[in-house]
Symmetry: C2
Subunit: 151 residues, 2 copies
């Protein structure tokens, strides 16, 4: 089962469970969404409208919320003032590194940090719900980074 198939299955299940309707737009948006990695609404809307002109921005916003509720998307906010969404892989978690020069987004996973984090929450008497951990830096990669001046 491909990630897209898995996501589609989860979405169908969620839609049925909530007594919602299966629509052309929801499938189209899902397909475009699953092709991306950390897409902004703007980017996604552009992609969708390429194949399905006439799709409204409001629908994309509403559908992304639906994806989050269905557990197939995570909302991210990297401080550029717009939300980004990424496909959620079941039982998988990672945080992000962002190059402030070129905008490249890397992912990382640090069990030790996660552990410490739980301890911190506990020490403060909080029941951990979620977290957000982003590292910002510059990627020092002339070739890869679009903002590095080419000689």
């Amino acid at each position: 089962m491909t990630p897209l198939e898995a996501a589609r299955a989860r979405l169908e299940r969620h839609i049925d469970a909530q007594g919602m309707k299966h629509t052309r737009q929801r499938v189209q948006i899902l397909e475009a969404f699953m092709r991306g990695r950390h897409v902004s609404v703007e980017e996604l809307l552009r992609d969708v409208q390429n194949e399905a002109p006439g799709t409204g921005a409001a629908t994309v916003y509403r559908t992304l919320k639906l994806f989050v509720e269905a557990g197939i998307a995570h909302e991210r906010n990297f401080g550029d003032g717009q939300a980004r969404y990424e496909p959620a892989v079941e039982d998988e978690h990672h945080d992000h590194l962002i190059c402030t020069d070129c905008g490249t987004i890397f992912e990382f996973e640090e069990p030790e940090i996660e552990t410490r984090q739980s301890q911190v929450a506990e020490a403060h008497g909080l029941s951990l719900r979620s977290h957000r951990h982003e590292i910002y830096g510059t990627c020092n990669r002339r070739e890869a980074c679009p903002r590095w001046p080419r000689s």
Copy 2:
């Protein structure tokens, strides 16, 4: 030297260095700002206008940016859609825990997490610039938490 005095000194220095002007508003906003802990612009504006009616919102926004540039404030974003600012204490760093029920903000410092974080950045070939680490949870404190139902 109190924190306020220290901040004022740094601000004056910055203002002089940049050839800017010392104004009544900047001092008033600084004083109100240093009284708070993680104030939103809205809250700060209200405080300032209590003592200095007529102060404009734009001035508060502009002044907070100035504070950040002068190194006496940090901008924070806890996902409630508005920026918050907190006094920067020199050579001190902490991250945050936020109670999603009552909004209480706790601070924490975990050298081990910081260390791992640097290693992660390095492993990905990034020069670490900054980071953001927030833990969200619920504080389980009937008495302290305004959103807990009183019996």
